[in-house]
Amino acid sequence: MAFLEQHIHDEPKTFISKYVISYDHKVIGKQFLWYGIFWLLVGGLMAMLIRWTLAYPGVPFPLIGSLLFPHTGGVVPPDTYAMLFTMHGTIMIFFAITPILIGAFGNFCIPLMIGARDMIFPTLNMLSFWFSMASGALLLISLCLPLGAAAGGWTSYPTLSTTLGSPGAGQTLWLLSLFLFGASSTMGAVNYITTVITLRAPGMDYFKMPLTIWGIWLTSILNAIFVPVLGAGLILLTFDRVFGTTFFLAGAAATSGKGDPVLFQHVFWIFGHPEVYILILPAWGIVSDLLSFFSRKPAFGYKMTALSLTAITILSTVVYGHHMYTTQMSPLLTQSFMTLTMLISMPSAVFFANWLGTLWKGSIRFTSPMLFSLGVVFVFGLGGLTGLYLASTSIDLYLHDTYFVVGHFHYTMAASVLLGGFAGTYFWFPKMFGRMMDEKLAKIHFWTTMIPLNGIFTGMMMMGWAGMHRRLYNPFIYEFTQNLMPLNKFVTYCAIAMGFAQFTFLYNFFKTIFGKNIPQASSNPWDVGTLEWTIPSPAPHYNFKEIPHVKCGPHELGNPNLTDGKDFQYQTEELVKA
C-alpha cells in the first residue's frame, strides 16, 4: 500500500494555539485526561454522598455536609439523593471513563503506536474535544438549576424522564448534554477508525498492531454505529418533553395519543449494551499489551486474543435484551437473548486463558502498570463471572434491580476500567510528560485502591443476594434489609478508604508534572518495543521524523536469539531468528 505523505507543520507558539485550541493529538489526549480526572473527582464525591446516605440515612454528611445542604443541616435530602445517583452514573460513564480511556489513550496512543504523525483529521479531533467540553458545561449548568439536575437514573427511562415524572429543565439539559457528547464521540470514532485504516506505518499489518490499538479501534466501531442510536432516542425524548409529543408516554397520563415507554428501553439498550463494551475494550487491549510487556515474553495467542475481542464486539450488539427481562418481552425473545448473552463467556474464556498464558513462564516485573493490569485480571474475572447470574432469566427475576446488579456492573465497568485506566496512565506518563511517576507511591496507590475496591463491590453483591434493591434513599425502612445495616456501613467505610486512596494518585500526578527536581524519563523506560518508545520522551512535535517501517510484531520480548544485550526488539527491527 502506497503510503500517504504526512506534512509537518510548524509548531504552534502561542499559549492558546498550543494548549487550548490545539490540533495536536498528544495535546488533545492530555486535555481529555485532565477533563476526565476533573469529572472523576466530581463523580467520586457524589459516590461518597450516596454511600454515606445508604449507611447513615438521616445523619449529616461529615465535614462538608452543612456546606452542601445548608437547609437540611447537612443531611442529603431524598430528591437530591435521586439526583446524585443519576449524575454519578452519567458522569462516570460519559464524562470520566469515556474521556480517559477513549479520549485520552485513544488520541495519545493511536498515532504513536501505529507510526503516524497525527490523527487524520486534526480539526475534527479538536472539535470532538470542544464538543465534549460544551456537553460537560451543560451538565454543570443543570446541577445549578433551582429544580435540580436530572434525577431519573442514568438510564432515564420514560415516563419518569418525561415532564410527567421530572418537571424542570434539568432533564432536558441532560438530554442535550448527552446529545452533544454523542456528537463528540461519533466525531472521535470516525477519526479513530479512519486513522487506523489509512495511517498505519508501512509494514504495520492489522495483526502487527498492539492490542491496545485493537481495543480502541473496535471500541470506535461500536461507537460509530451505536451512539447515533442513542442520539435518536434522545431526540425523541426531547420532543416529548419540549413539543408535547407522546412517543414514550402511555397509560392514564397520556392524554393525546399513546406511545410506548418500553420503546425507549429498547433504543437505550441497543446502544447501552455495546456501550459497556465500548468502555471495557480499550482497558482489555491495554491490559493484554502490558501483561506481555512486563512478563518479558510475547503475548500468548496474540491473534486469538484479537479475534476473541472482535467476536465479543460482534456479540455485544445482539444481547441487549438481557437488561429488560422484567419488562416481559415474549418468551422466545427472552430466551434468545439469554442464549446469546451466555455465548459471550466463550471468547472471554479465550482471552482470559491467553492472559494467564502470557504470565506462564514469564519473568514478571512488578512495576505499577503491571500491578494494575494484574488487578484488572482479578476484578474482571469476578465481574465477568457474576454476569452469568444476571444473564439467566430465572435468577434475574430475583436479582434484577438489586444491589447484585450494582456490584456486578461496578466490577466490570468501574473497577476494571478504572484499574486499566490507571495502568495506562502510569505506563504512558513518561511519554506524555517526559517524567517518571513515583513508583513507590504508585504501588501504595494500587494496594490502597485494590483492597477496599473488592470490599465495596463484593459487599454490594452480597447485599443484592440478600434482597436489597437499588436506588433507595433509606434502605432500612424494609424489614428484610435490617440485617444489612452493618454490611452497608462496611461498604461505606471501604468506599471512603478507596476515595482517600485516590489522593495518592493525584499527589503523585501533579507533583510529577509540576514539581521541581523530578528526573527526566529516558526514551524507553520500560524496555518495550512498540513504536512510541522509539522516539524521545516526551513525544516530540509531529512524533516521527522519519515514518518508521514496521518489521515485526508488537510483543517481541525475551527472544533467546537476541545478541545485542537487550531482551526486546523494536517493531522497526527485523525479527531475529535462530
Binding site: E5, P228, I235, T245, T246, L263
Partner: protein
Amino acid sequence: MATKAQIQEEKVFQNSVAMTVTLIAFGMMFATLFLGYFLVRANTAVWPPVEIQNMPKLLPFLSTLVMGLSSLTYLKMEKSESQRSLYWILTFALGIVFLVLQWILWGALKEKGILVSNGNVPSMVIAFTWIHAAHILLGLIALSWLGKYVLKKKEELTVIKLMNVGKFWHFLGVIWLLIYLMMFVL
C-alpha cells in the same frame, strides 16, 4: 516516495472511509427512528390512519421531486466542468426550495389541526420531517462550503470534496425518499 497519482488515490480512499463511517453513523440514527415507525405501525389497527388520510398529498410529492432533481443537478455538477457554477447554484437553490416546501407543509398541517402534539402518527410525521430538515440544513452548510471552491478558489476544488459532499447530499435524498414512502405512500 509515492507518486502524485498514488497519493491522490490514497486520499480518495481515506476520505471515502471516513465518509462511509459518517454515513453509517447518520444512517443508524435514522434507522432507529424508522424502527420506532414500524413499531407504531404494527400497533395501529388501520393504516393509513385518519391523520395521514387528511394530510396534503401534493406537497410531499413536490418535495420528493425537488430532492430528486437536486441530486441530478449535483451529479451534473460533478461531471461538467464548464457549467459547474451553474449546477452548483441550481443544487443549492433546489435545497432551499425543499426547505420552503417543508415549511409550507408544516403550515398546511397546522391549518388542518394536525399538530406535533396530536398523537403518535402526526408526532412521527412532523418530528421526522423536522429532523430531516435539520440535516438538510447541515447539507446546505456543506454545499456552501463547497460553493467557496466551485465559485471562487477553483484551483483548490478536488474530487474528494465534490465526492464527499455529494455522498452526504444523496444520502439525505435517499432518507427523504424513505420518509416519503413510509409516511405518505405505503
